[in-house]
Symmetry: C2
Subunit: 383 residues, 2 copies
């Protein structure tokens, strides 16, 4: 069992879900720091006693075994497979995103080439929600819960301060996809509610239109909140195994706030919602955590049954009530593939946050969230 | 009733606590946007029906009446007093920080000069916790709860990613005081736990020492988390009524991260915890909200009793169990005064987060917070 890529608030639920199930019939080892641990043969035994003693770590954000990024080339995987073979390890589950699924596939092929028996299973994890062939992936629901509530609350704060600050540009994660940015509008109810504007990588970003929209919003409501994806500009689609070389993302919000100040003469603040959005324990969606746990356990069962070469995915069984079944997706179909925010939602007439998207998101972000009406103003004194 | 300055997650609890009590014997008006509303005579009636209909706004972050900053000079206050006198308003309560308390005092004096009967009461509010003459102020506990948990969670995330990212510099609010930055260490238990370093405005910041400490921490643990106050550098102490002219704060974390990258060659990320720390509804401390409510109600009772010229403060009655009583503090003693993080805690031998400070903070941040042990590593496999 290994964890790879950037962690989420529920990655460890998948880890413990897997390990506790796997221990029923196997000896289990943990790979330290994902692909790096495979490259350097750094594994630790995870006997039942250790797992039991640390069971509360399943609620800890981050990755208990260490995750992270590691530069890996196609030709490195045979070495990884040899390391595992030399230890007598027959199956590997990796928790990760589409880069990790690509690595799972390469590793399975490499093992076959060197004549090692190795079954490989991928457990999905991403806050960006860019994994193909699954309705959503663990980690996203909790991140979306944070983003939805943080955008609402920071907007309320700005609405109160609009005699001092005019514009806030809030930046979510989402390297190439707009799922999290769109989630920033989840608690919006009426056109005048913030966030007033959302910009995602799936739509072309036109600077002049952005400025025009901010200006009009500010004129209409006295303040403006825009949500943007970190991947808005540039959209450098690197190779899936190649995140390592790209610089730390983040910063488009500050650039845009500066643009607003300079071009519109409005006081503007750009803020990254930052690493807290993928790790914040107080914003975990319980359903997200449960699904992470379930997918971990299912991976262990599949492994014992000798299945290999699949990623687990989630599929909704019904559109009327929330119920999911677990799918087995061939790694080929997810490795390096991407899942943008759907075109049909982007084109929906209720534009900013399509009602269908809101309904889709509702069970994932969890309960006890409510929108608030507007601040009191002179216009409202006739109530 | 007016709200002034930057809002908090519980400012509206004070507002409703006040209004519901005041309505028992008075007609109540809301001042729109704090000092601006006083300057421009923008008031709205708050009859019981309106207040009842919007009662759930007491849990909303931000300021229901609008708050914000407004440039005010000594000579403006007579005009404010005349506006209130012309409306027949006899008492004013303002929720705010030390700048607001200064305005309350000036307004009371101005009213006396023009022969108006005006009693003025200040209700404390600050996330920085820099108000003098009170054990703490509403807003701080919730902000501290956010900071403590966010620092822990973002640190866990980094610990998982240390093969890719080495250093995070996390920036809290605190223009001139280090209360929130120190709260970032609340959930730290052992020397090896993050945050490893905390820098506050009360201590001289020496760049070379900072670099040395980051380097040593990284060598010891493979990663380093530093928490810094936004007011770390510059410490420009402007006049209390003069926040309006100062630029939006924030940014020292990015400067320091860049310094770490350049001087130590380590991958470093600077992140502002941002506006979410003073507004995040999911991190509200219930005790903080209750105290905000209670102080609002007490202000209304005092007002009906004809008291004027005081700010309400909180005083701990016992060091063994948490119990506070409400104090009446002459506005002179808080107007423009500041309350730094205490020197005796900064000098404590258990340095980074003094145990006494932790005990002081515990009842304020609320319950259900726990620290997590470290991530698993090869060294720990001998368990």
């Amino acid at each position: 069992m290994g964890q790879a890529g950037g962690p989420t608030a529920v990655t460890n639920a998948s880890l413990f879900g897997f390990v506790e199930e796997a221990l029923l019939g196997c000896e289990v080892y943990g790979v330290i720091n994902g692909l790096q641990g495979l490259a350097e043969d750094r594994l630790v035994p995870l006997p039942a006693s250790t797992v039991k003693r640390h069971r509360r770590m399943r609620e800890m954000p981050g990755a208990w075994l260490g995750a992270g990024r590691w530069p890996t080339r196609e030709e490195d995987f045979e070495g990884y497979a040899i390391n595992l073979k030399n230890r007598g390890i027959r199956s590997l589950a990796l928790i990760g995103g589409n880069g990790t699924m690509w690595a799972c596939l390469r590793l399975e092929h490499a093992a076959r080439r060197i004549g090692a028996e190795l079954s490989v299973i991928g457990i999905p994890k991403t806050v960006d929600n860019d994994l193909a062939e699954t309705d959503h992936a663990p980690g996203f629901g909790s991140a979306a819960r944070f983003v939805a509530t943080a955008v609402r609350d920071v907007s309320k704060d700005l609405e109160s301060m609009r005699n001092f600050e005019a514009v806030r540009v809030l930046e979510t994660m989402g390297r190439n996809v707009g799922w999290l940015a769109m989630s920033g509008g989840y608690l919006r109810k009426r056109p005048e509610d913030p966030p007033h504007l959302i910009y995602v990588p799936e739509r072309e970003f036109v600077q002049d239109e952005f400025l025009k929209e901010v200006k009009e919003t500010h004129e209409a409501y006295g303040y403006a909140v825009a949500v943007v994806s970190e991947g808005l500009q540039g959209r450098a689609r690197s190779d899936p195994g190649d995140h390592v070389k790209s610089p730390l993302l983040g910063g488009v919000s500050r650039e845009l706030a500066q643009l607003v100040s300079e071009e519109l003469g409005l006081s503007a603040r750009g803020e990254l919602l930052g690493m807290v959005q993928r790790s914040y324990s107080l914003a975990v969606s319980q359903r997200d955590r449960e699904e992470a746990w379930l997918l971990g356990g299912e991976a262990a069962r599949l492994m014992r049954a000798g299945v290999s070469g699949v990623m687990l995915g989630l599929e909704r069984r019904s559109s009327s009530r929330y119920e999911v079944k677990i799918r087995h997706v061939p790694l080929e179909r997810v490795a390096g593939a991407e899942r943008p925010f759907p075109e049909y939602w982007l084109r929906a007439p209720d534009a900013l946050v399509p009602e269908e998207f809101r309904e889709w998101l509702e069970p994932l972000v969890g309960e006890d969230l409510s929108a608030y009406p507007a601040n009191l103003s002179e216009q409202e004194t006739s109530w």
